[in-house]
Amino acid sequence: MTQAQAEDTRIDWEAALVERARAGDPRAFERLYREHAGRVYGLCLRMTRDAHLAEDCTQETFINAWRALPRFETRSSLSTWLHRIAVNVSLAKRRKASPVEPRLEDEEGTGGALEWTLETPVEIQEIEAAIGALPDGARDALVLHALYGYSHGEAAQMLGVAEGTCKAQLHRARKLLRERLNVEVG
């Protein structure tokens, strides 16, 4: 079995689980939960910066997903769909808990694409602390783009902002990380 075949097998397997969950099989949905819970919780935790809130967000994400399963298109990526729900839930919970950040001006032509490489290696716990200390908008954009691999457009759409705003937030994140970690971020 090649890597591609294994990935196809996995996707087919997941599609089969979605169909069964859609038909009302909670065991199938539990398997989908087990497969995706880590990434959903990781997203919620980094966005809310609070473990209890992140647990609430994760639970609400999957409950909303269960309700919305009939509308999910199987050819789309389940994980992207779950992350969209998680982002919405996290933003809503955060808005309730804290005041809204001032909007950043859109930024066009801010230079080449960033690879998020660090000039010298940094400890994971230090990087995570630095990410956690970023302002909300910058952190959200950074997590979706650099950690979860979404494009500027996808991340912007998930966050409900213009693509230019998302790019501006990413550059702000880069600048703040550089200052906090005292290494060049490229």
Partner: protein, 204 residues
């Protein structure tokens, strides 16, 4: 902050090396399941009202199930001692490499006496010792490993609960008995692996 990456002193050269996934400290599924089931009960005409049985947790029934398991094990022991040949060792995940060099690995169906593995005093003593040190051992693991192991132990606990509950409905079911023995053996394997792994973390 929530302590993401706390204790993880590995160094990375790119943010893209950070793992997106973080396992929650506890299993969130039971509450999700409870909410989903509550919604399904509240909307009887809705999707999934029939096709598959809901795995509800009938707490009072579990006490009856546990009693039925004890009774069935006791009967199994009596049958085994009276009627069956001398017990073969439980299969577990024992290494077939050593047991059957040069011959295909054979699979022995568990006898009734294999079920007494669970009530064996040596097993109980060894398990108790491993459980007492479990929390400290888990703390010695790298945080990502710790979270995954906790999820696996939760899976084992749920498997035991489900099997014991099912045995309550069908105490003589050989399949369930075999799977229950397997699950107890797998739990011991995990507890032992965690014990060894935490020793390894202190310097191999």
């Amino acid at each position: 902050m929530s302590g993401i990456g706390g204790g993880d002193e590995r160094r990375v050269s790119s943010l893209r090396e950070l793992s997106p996934a973080i396992e929650p400290a506890r299993d969130l599924w039971p509450q999700i399941e409870a909410r989903i089931n509550a919604e399904r009960r509240a909307a009887p005409g809705a999707r999934g009202a029939q096709p598959h049985p809901v795995r509800t947790r009938a707490v009072p029934l579990r006490w009856l199930a546990a009693a039925a398991v004890v009774a069935s094990v006791a009967v199994g022991v009596w049958i085994g001692r009276s009627l069956l040949p001398a017990a073969r060792p439980g299969t577990g995940v024992a290494s077939a490499l050593n047991a059957s060099r040069g011959t295909p690995a054979t699979v022995d169906a568990p006898t009734a006496l294999d079920v007494t593995y669970i009530s064996d005093p040596r097993y109980q003593r060894d398990r108790a010792a491993l459980m007492r040190s479990l929390q400290a051992r888990l703390s010695a693991l790298p945080p990502p490993a710790r979270a995954k192991v906790m999820a696996s132990l939760a899976a084992i606990r749920r498997a035991k609960d489900d099997l014991e509950s099912a045995l309550g409905k069908d105490p003589g079911n050989a399949l369930l008995q075999e799977l229950l023995v397997n699950t107890y053996q797998d739990e011991m394997r995990v507890l032992t692996d965690v014990h060894e792994a935490s020793e390894a973390g202190r310097g191999i």
